[in-house]
């Protein structure tokens, strides 16, 4: 078991008004799974992803990651986990402006214990997403789809166990979106755990399991039959 959430509760305190965002979530994800977390906006799916991704701490409940209880981890420990074992892909790419593609991909290595071979690792990651010929471009000189692929390369460069993708196709046209999804499929096929957060069923159907959340509670957790799955192709742009 890679991820094991037990009765996770998250409350936000907005000047005395307490909002219950997660109301006792139990969820287990095995290594190598491809899971989509679905739900309407305000359902708590982003908060759940942030909690699983160690960007946020639960108010109560226990979170075992790779067999370890994460309760006693301090902020620096969490930063190290985010760096070494988790990769994030965001809807809005979040690349550094005025910076080359390869420097963007090398960024996580800067905060890692890996001291050498940064450029080579970044190059390998960029080749894996089909952008080996764009390494010296500025991040604002490439298309949206390419930006998201750079973001995926950045998420991969430290060789993490889990890849989180938060609406990865939300800002993309269908062609670029298709390419991004096929890359995620491929990464999962190679054994990496992929957790997808989306409100779009066509995106969610790429996954092998769909967890639906509403009002801070999981209302369904279903396997997707192989025949129902959507497969995307790389469409060159």
């Amino acid at each position: 078991m890679l991820i094991d959430l037990k009765d996770i509760v998250k409350d936000y305190d907005n000047g005395g008004i307490i909002t219950h965002v997660l109301k006792g979530v139990n969820l287990s994800i095995d290594e190598g799974e491809f899971v989509a977390i679905m739900g309407p906006s305000g359902s708590g799916k982003s908060t759940l992803m942030h909690t699983i991704g160690f960007l946020d701490r639960p108010t109560s409940g226990e979170y075992f990651f790779d067999g370890q209880n994460t309760k006693d981890f301090d902020d620096d420990d969490l930063a190290h986990i985010r760096n070494e074992r988790i990769g994030f892909v965001f809807q809005s790419f979040n690349l550094l402006p005025r910076t080359t593609v390869i420097d963007n991909v090398m960024l996580p290595l800067l905060y890692s214990n890996i001291k050498t071979g940064h450029r080579h690792k970044a190059k390998v990651a960029l080749e894996a997403v089909g952008l080996g010929d764009r390494i010296d471009f500025m991040s604002n000189q490439i298309s949206g789809g390419q930006k998201q692929r750079v973001a995926i390369a950045r998420a991969l460069v430290c060789n993490p166990k889990v890849l989180f993708a938060d609406e990865p196709t939300g800002n993309l046209d269908s062609k670029s979106g298709s390419t991004v999804m096929s890359i995620l499929e491929q990464l999962n096929k190679e054994g990496r755990t992929v957790i997808l957060v989306t409100h779009d069923m066509n995106v969610a159907l790429h996954a092998h399991r769909i967890v639906t959340i509403k009002d801070g509670e999981i209302i369904s957790d279903k396997k997707v039959d192989a025949k129902d799955r959507i497969h995307s192709k790389i469409i060159s742009d």
Partner: protein, 421 residues
């Protein structure tokens, strides 16, 4: 260590990607640092200029002025108060080798205004009436001719030595030694007295705010009696053989004058004995204080520059909130974020310091050239200490004023930062 340099390299790259912003950020530091450098350089240049001019007048000189003064302040005679207690007998007593053994030359002085006439040319200038021993007391260089002798001055001979500017004004086409000029004093109406030109002084320029070339020298007695019509001495200058004998000679002179004036209590002294070192000390302390004050002003501009850096760093932090969130989400610790922004501030201020030094040295040099153009013996001095201080100060400014924005960046919550629009 290696990753430290890597971080610096990355920071520089990062800052260079925002050239305009970075330059404006450091402008305050550049101005502050170059201000400090320029002020310290100008101060040192002015000090050496003034000291150089004083020593040009001659070294190991003791001056005697009439009137009492305390050790620190100037004597009353400096302010134009006429004190008549010093007379020729006093000067002659100082000349006594048994009483003042280390005095090698003694010159008495009176000064006044005079009109010098040659044919149709006339010049209003000041005259110095002194002894033939004047060239032994002070450095005198003659353009041509010679200074008058002790015999000539004692006899009251009608001979005159012209300052360079006076000579130029009276004899625009050049004139031979031996020409006759007439002196007219505004103090009495005995008419004009003819003098024979026997020498012209070399061009000296301005020393201690007085044009040394706009004056004439005549023998002491004729100047005192006939031009001014007085019987006292305005001041005496004594040349001492060796700097080590200055204090003892000053004591000797005081004792001589006390016995001349029948003074038993030193508190009742009606004269002041000073040496040039005193004057230099007073002058140096004044210029030092001035430099400190100006340096402080420049230092304040450095602090203002630092506040400018803090301002823009704060803007930068809020502009780059998403970037900070991203960096945290991919594994940067709060400490690493803090260090990144702190390093940016320090690199910026350090670069500003270096640019400031270059600009400051350049401007100081141009100013030195400019002052030299106007004929002053100005030296271009850059003290290494001022450079070290400037760099140190700018880096410290970077740390102090960069810390708050950096801490603010480090404290950002990654989720909030990522959502920030």
């Amino acid at each position: 260590m290696n990753s430290f340099f890597l971080n610096i390299e990355r920071t520089i790259k990062n800052l260079l990607s925002r050239k305009g912003r970075s330059f404006l950020t450091v402008l305050g530091i550049v101005i502050g640092v170059s201000g400090v450098i320029i002020i310290i350089s100008l101060g040192a240049g002015a000090q050496t200029l003034v000291l150089g001019q004083i020593t040009k007048l001659g070294s190991n000189i003791v001056g005697v002025l009439p009137g009492k003064s305390n050790e620190k302040g100037p004597p009353a005679a400096v302010f134009g108060v006429q004190v008549k207690t010093l007379v020729l007998a006093d000067a002659n007593a100082i000349k006594d080798k048994n009483k003042v053994p280390h005095a090698t030359a003694v010159a008495s002085f009176v000064r006044g205004n005079v009109t010098v006439i040659s044919g149709r040319q006339s010049v209003d200038t000041s005259f110095t009436a002194t002894d033939g021993s004047y060239p032994q007391v002070q450095n005198v260089e003659m353009d041509h001719g010679s200074f008058f002798t002790n015999e000539e001055s004692q006899a009251g001979a009608n001979v005159i030595v012209l300052g360079y500017d006076v000579y130029q004004a009276l004899f625009p086409n050049g004139g031979d030694m031996g020409a006759i000029v007439k002196l007219k004093s505004p103090n009495n109406d005995i008419g004009s007295i003819p003098f024979r030109v026997i020498g012209v002084q070399k061009k000296l320029g301005t020393v201690a705010f007085q044009n040394q070339d706009d004056q004439v020298f005549i023998p002491f007695s004729i100047g005192q009696r006939q031009l001014l019509g007085i019987n006292y001495i305005q001041f005496i200058r004594i040349k001492v053989d060796n700097a080590d004998n200055l204090p003892s000679t000053m004591e000797d002179i005081k004792n001589v004058l006390r016995s001349q004036h029948r003074i038993t209590d030193p508190n009742n002294d009606d004269f002041s004995v000073r040496d040039l070192a005193d004057a230099i000390k007073i002058l140096t302390s004044i210029t030092d204080a001035l430099r400190m004050f100006l340096g402080l002003m420049a230092g304040i501009s450095l602090v203002v520059g630092g506040i400018g850096i803090m301002n823009i760093m704060l803007v930068t932090v809020s502009e780059r909130t998403r970037e900070i969130g991203l960096r945290k989400s991919i594994g940067a610790t709060s400490k690493q974020i803090r260090n990144q922004f702190l390093l940016e501030a320090v690199v910026l201020t350090f670069a500003g310091g270096i640019i400031g030094i270059v600009v400051g040295v350049l401007i100081s040099y141009i100013l030195a050239l400019g002052v030299r153009y106007f004929g002053y013996d100005w030296s271009f001095i850059i003290s290494p200490l001022s450079i070290i201080l400037a760099v140190l100060f700018s880096v410290i400014t970077g740390v102090i004023f960069g810390l708050y924005p950096a801490l603010k960046a480090a404290k950002l919550d990654p989720i909030v930062a990522l959502r920030y629009e």
